[in-house]
Subunit: 451 residues, 2 copies
């Protein structure tokens, strides 16, 4: 048979089992946390009608999209989860209860130039809350509170959710008589972290044509910083001049107060006037999330409030608030930086049961008993030498081996071997299960089970 | 803004939230059960190099595949999970521990003619165990034992896993001097359920050119039926004439005995000599699974033993055994037949917390307390009339509403309303959580929580 050299396309993440187990655990944390806040799972097709997916159009998107013909159909792979959500809500509008809260953790596709840490197929993990006509400000605090829980679940603590409100920015530019240029200004100011204050000033003057006084007012404004209370107090000084600004400040104060009620510590969220988000789509609260020890990575979770989710598909005002984690990239970065939670399991089983008799029936029964206690148990049925069986257990990284020979069967026991320490004890099946679980929970073994 | 009519492509399943929740619960049962037997999750790309995906070639596959160019690349969407597994094992051979046990629950793509109950994008839920050179027969009993657990987890009881061994069939045809025609014969016999005994006989005589005596021997052989012990006893009468047959019978007996050791009741598995599987790929044990009250659906879970997983990609003998559930189709059929487990949750939350005061902080805190007990709690922050809030709770189908007004806050309690019975009680937050959980577990509410 001719052999074709196997390969996986570049820009597509394909993990070995140990890492995949950790990735899956992160997805489970996402699903469980999102569900605990009453979000319903959503699963839309990977392939959509290209006309529908590209209703909004736009340059970068169209260049990157995977688009192809099948028969007479003009098809494309989804490039985010927001456009499919908009389609879904418009299509099923009358069947949904609003506010409609959904999460979706799915792959999306962008045919970007492949480079380190950039993926053409990657998971996004999104939550959105969509209102019918109206949506309460409370939701704008709940979204980052959920993200806080997710990141804590990932084992991270040095992260910060940065919050701003575009009405404050627009209102401020309104005061300066620069309302029409506010989009251009925000896109420029958004580059502050990357290019620095001086270059932003130059761009504001030369590219956008502001006066020096205007540029300085803006730079002074976005330089407002400090504890959340200090920033909010400084913003009070600008009130009474623009209705939009005052509304934005009231919203930002409500979000800040409610975030505290949700139990998010002040160290994990910050009011940050430099956050604007590049998209014109957002209209109120906006979020970015940074890893404090790795600012160079940029935002790992972003989103905000929008007023018109599905205007391309339905003639109804559907405001919403949402946030998206670029999960594949986040996993790649955490792995590279050694920040993956060591408590995430990386072995496919908690214990490997080794039959030491010819008849496998007693070992089968033992494995079933251990499994019933909730442990992940692999039965090893291959006819190999003991040493090879141990080598296999070590390669898998299982924390325990459970041996069952004639002696153990006669005594109604089994021998549990800690693969980390080499320690071996003879126990009844029920005690063996307790012993393994206790060790896993205490972390006294190469791999820790998270329940 | 011009409005584009939203639609989802035909042949692509897109569920409303209540059904999606049930589908997700089935996926969770699959993941948990597969993991409890020590299978590692695998996630391969949806897009692969077309040359690699089509290494085996073959008519139907090539016609149905989604294949397209992107830049210079000839790409295709995976049409099953076996070819990507073969590629993965060949590519990562030296990093894997054998036997390599993996599960994958992922979407696959086949551009078939769309028709009711046929999908172009559908989930497969596969498990495979791959050996390096050798693989013990024990694995061939474990695979159907796991499927038994999965189907029980789905809430099904009237199903049967039918088991056969191709060595028995090939050995039998060998005895009749029909070894070379065994593939054709098996493909014909496989149609027995669909076209009946007489038509199979006609095909054996006319299409395959057997003598009447040969056809009758075959029909007599495959008519062997009864309890598993009876079938195995009848097969003993054929031993001693073909080494292959004798080997197959020994394997079938081992699988049958071990399936009993795994705790699979005899009513849920049957030795069935008519099972052959259409693919030439299988070499030993083969499986099909039927819903006893719906034989017309055909097999909902099939697989078997193969000797050469990845011969197109690597020069190593990699035998394996695997099985695949066509999950999207199974869900569609169960839903249509009213067989979806009523214990599967269909509301996105166990309770809806309704703040009845202007300040939402006490309700936020209450929701967090209830969530910490493991309940799924949605906080409803919209400024609506009480009646509208109740209408929303009813539309979502949440079993409980939790009301928090000034009185409750003063007393340190909350009011829990059973949305099914209308009954309302005032309880402390801890008691409320117990009350809700107890009711959910007892099924005293519209929706039952499965833990």
């Amino acid at each position: 048979m001719d052999i074709i050299k196997p390969r996986t396309l570049s820009g597509f993440m394909e993990l070995l089992p140990g890492k995949q187990l950790r990735f899956e655990k992160m997805m489970e944390i996402l699903r469980t946390t999102y569900a605990s806040y009453g979000f319903a799972p959503l699963d839309t097709p990977v392939i959509e009608d290209a006309q529908i997916l590209l209703a909004k159009g736009g340059g970068e998107t169209e260049k990157q999209i995977y688009r192809f013909q099948k028969g007479d159909s003009d098809l494309a792979l989804r490039f985010d989860l927001t456009v499919p959500l908009a389609k879904y809500v418009a299509l099923h509008y009358s069947d949904l209860a609003f506010p409609f809260r959904r999460y979706q953790i799915s792959k999306v596709y962008r045919g970007e130039r492949a480079q380190r840490g950039r993926f053409r197929e990657f998971y996004q993990a999104d939550i959105d809350i969509i209102g019918d006509g109206k949506l309460d400000i409370l939701n704008e605090a709940e979204i980052p509170a959920i993200i806080y829980k997710v990141f804590k679940g990932f084992g991270l603590s040095r992260f910060q959710i940065r919050v701003n409100n575009r009405k404050i920015l627009n209102g401020f530019y309104d005061m300066l008589g620069l309302m029409e240029k506010s989009g251009d200004i925000m896109r420029t100011v958004d580059k502050l972290d990357k290019i620095g204050k001086e270059k932003v000033r130059t761009l504001l003057l030369e590219d956008i044509g502001l006066t020096e006084a205007q540029a300085d007012d803006i730079l002074k404004f976005i330089a407002i910083s400090g504890a959340n209370g200090e920033v909010l107090a400084a913003l009070e000084g600008y009130t009474g001049k623009s209705e939009l600004f005052d509304q934005g400040l009231a919203e930002l104060k409500a979000v800040t107060a409610n975030l505290a009620a949700f139990g998010v510590p002040e160290e994990n969220f910050a009011v940050d006037l430099t956050i604007a988000r590049g998209l014109d789509y957002y209209t109120g609260t906006v979020y970015e999330t940074t890893l404090l020890d790795h600012p160079e990575i940029g935002s790992v979770c972003s989103g905000g409030r929008y007023d018109n989710l599905a205007g391309y598909y339905i003639d109804k005002p559907l405001p919403g608030v949402g946030i998206s984690i670029g999960l594949t990239r986040l996993f790649y970065v955490l792995d590279e930086q050694g920040l993956l939670n060591p408590a995430l399991p990386s072995a496919p089983a908690d214990a490997l049961v080794l039959p030491m008799t010819e008849d496998p029936a007693p070992a089968i029964a033992l494995a079933e008993v251990l499994r019933c206690t909730g442990l992940r148990i692999q039965l090893y049925g291959e006819q190999k030498k003991f040493k090879q069986k141990m080598a296999y257990a070590n390669k898998l990284g299982v924390p325990f081996a459970v041996l069952l020979g004639e002696d153990e069967i006669t005594e109604g026991k089994c021998s549990v071997k800690n693969m980390g320490t080499g320690e071996q004890v003879k126990l009844s099946p029920a005690d063996a299960a307790d012993y393994i679980r206790t060790a896993l929970e205490a972390g006294n073994c190469p791999v820790i089970l998270e329940k």
